[in-house]
């Protein structure tokens, strides 16, 4: 298949928790150098989508392809090594480890992947990007604030030299000013590094402001898919699903 590197292709993805259908035949494509937003209300299936892509939810139907490589049903470890970095809901800081140890875990994955031609990232560049982390590098990650934790997990994901970055509600619990900085940073990263970002957000307005395309999920189905500007401009859609 002639898919370009870093294209994430999701086809007919369905997932169930017992009797609950959380994803119902979802088709989504996310391309390199673009931010693809996935929006929807609580319980729409956004987290399930990301967890299925990264191999944490098992037994789904449909397929997940990365640059044409079929990752359906692979283990979470394999998918991470293939270049999909998932920053989970609630961030996934390992609080018992120090800040630097958290980062080193990302770096280890990056080193393991580099043989496969991933971009090189070093601890220093992350510290340059987030000076606050450098000051706290020897502290337990436990002691970080919400914003610092978000920097930590994004830095950690970048160190793993990913082709695709999955972000699950990165704005949750952050002050509006920090959210704005964070989203600017994400946009900047995508423009500079050309990675693929799949951004799950409740905060639809902010997400659409940096996204290129968007998908709206409701009860596990894709109910709208368009470029970000037209989604943001669709008043009915905004009222029905996005709440702004």
């Amino acid at each position: 298949m002639a898919e370009p590197r870093g294209t994430l292709d999701i086809r007919g993805l369905s997932a169930r928790y017992g009797p609950v259908t959380a994803l119902d035949a979802v088709d989504i494509t996310a391309s390199p150098g673009r931010v693809t937003a996935v929006l929807g209300a609580n319980g729409a299936g956004k987290t399930t989508l990301l967890r299925t892509i990264s191999g944490l939810v098992k037994g789904a139907d449909g397929s997940v392809l990365l640059g044409g490589r079929d990752l359906t049903g692979a283990s979470a470890e394999t998918i991470a090594r293939a270049g999909i970095a998932h920053v989970p809901e609630g961030r996934g800081v390992i609080t018992e480890l120090t800040v630097e140890e958290n980062l080193r875990l990302g770096e280890l994955l990056g080193t393991a992947r580099r043989g496969k031609g991933g971009r090189e990232h070093r601890l220093d560049t992350v510290y340059e990007m987030f000076p606050a982390l450098e000051q706290r590098r020897r502290r337990e990650a436990n002691s970080l604030s919400g914003g610092e934790r978000q920097m930590l997990v994004i830095g950690r994901a970048l160190l793993s030299a990913p082709e695709v970055l999955l972000l699950d509600e990165p704005s949750l619990g952050l002050a509006p000013r920090i959210v704005a900085q964070l989203f600017a940073l994400i946009r900047d990263l995508v423009d500079r590094e050309g990675i693929t970002v799949l951004l799950v957000e409740q905060n639809a307005r902010s997400a659409l402001s940096i996204a290129d395309t968007g998908f709206v999920l409701n009860l596990g189905r894709v109910v709208a898919a368009a470029d970000a500007a037209s989604l943001a401009g669709d008043a009915d859609l905004r009222h029905a699903y996005l709440g702004f």
Binding site: L56, P88, L105
Partner: protein, 292 residues
């Protein structure tokens, strides 16, 4: 006075062994939330392997090394084959599986190696050093015991603090899901964790056996002492396990020396219950609360 010194010295070298055993329990508990009640039986089994080699004419050190390697393999196999399916399930199921292994290993050892008492050699002298005109209860073998436990602890600390493998193992112990997302092969880390723990357990088994009699149940009480030590240390921290081991060794040595050796296991029970009821998070934690 001389008696007190001797009892204390004896308590310290026993305590070092309990510390090693507790450390083995803590390593597994941290990673999988399972107390390996089969730890003692596994150690007994590898010690018998060493004894078999030594009796067939090999040197003590060949037997020693073989027991540690056997521990490594046994730990890995046990995790991979029987513990993996119950990890993360109801806690009672995992407890029952380790107890099943405990009985099975003990019976298997009796079948393969005999159920009688056999004496196990010590690589160093068992006669106490003399200080002035006194002979104290501190022997060249005690030096070896404390030294080898120290070496193992330093090696483990170095592994966990300074190596990539150690970092991956700790990450897997603290958060399996996040570790997976970071490409860590968590299953392998758990297998390795059990393997390393079994090596440390085997070392404890060899050290208890040295210069003593072994039989298939000789580690039964040590499981209890090791568990008490681990709980004293809070069950989470390797450092706590070591301190807990030394405290347990000393306390039990005083009970044995002044009250009677039959009461040692009961005293261990008393310490355990007291700690669990009064300071469930162990002696060294700052918070006293925890669901145990």
């Amino acid at each position: 006075m001389q008696q007190f010194v001797n009892i204390t010295l004896n308590g310290l070298s026993q305590g070092a062994i309990y510390a090693a055993f507790a450390l083995a329990l803590v390593l597994i508990w941290r990673a999988t939330r399972i107390i390996n009640f089969a730890q003692g039986a596994m150690a007994m089994f590898t010690t018998y392997l060493a004894l078999t080699l030594i009796e067939s004419g090999q040197s003590y050190w060949v037997g020693f090394a073989a027991a540690l390697v056997a521990g490594l393999v046994l730990g890995a196999l046990v995790e991979r084959i029987v513990m993996r399916p119950v990890e993360g399930g109801p806690e009672l199921n995992a407890v029952i599986v380790t107890l099943g292994l405990f009985v099975a290993f003990q019976a298997l050892a009796a079948i393969l190696f005999g159920a009688t008492f056999q004496s196990f050699p010590a690589p160093f002298g068992l006669r106490g050093f003399t200080v002035g005109e006194f002979t104290i209860a501190f022997t060249p073998f005690s030096v070896f015991v404390i030294g080898s436990v120290l070496v193992v602890m330093l090696a483990l600390t170095a592994l966990f603090r300074f190596t990539d493998l150690g970092l991956r193992m700790r990450a897997s112990a603290f958060s399996q899901e996040v570790s997976r997302l970071l490409g860590v092969r968590v299953g392998r880390m758990l297998t390795l964790g059990w393997a390393f723990a079994a090596v440390v357990g085997s070392l404890a088994g060899l050290l208890i056996a040295g210069g003593n009699l072994v039989h298939p149940a000789y580690m039964d009480a040590v499981i209890v002492y090791g568990f008490v030590a681990a709980v004293l240390g809070g069950l989470e921290s390797p450092g706590g396990a070591v301190a807990g081991g030394l405290i347990t060794g000393l306390a039990l040595s005083y009970v044995s020396g002044y009250l009677g050796s039959e009461l040692v296991t009961l005293a261990a029970l008393g310490i355990l219950v007291a700690v669990l009821l009064v300071r469930p998070r162990g002696l060294f934690s700052r918070v006293a609360e925890r669901r145990v």
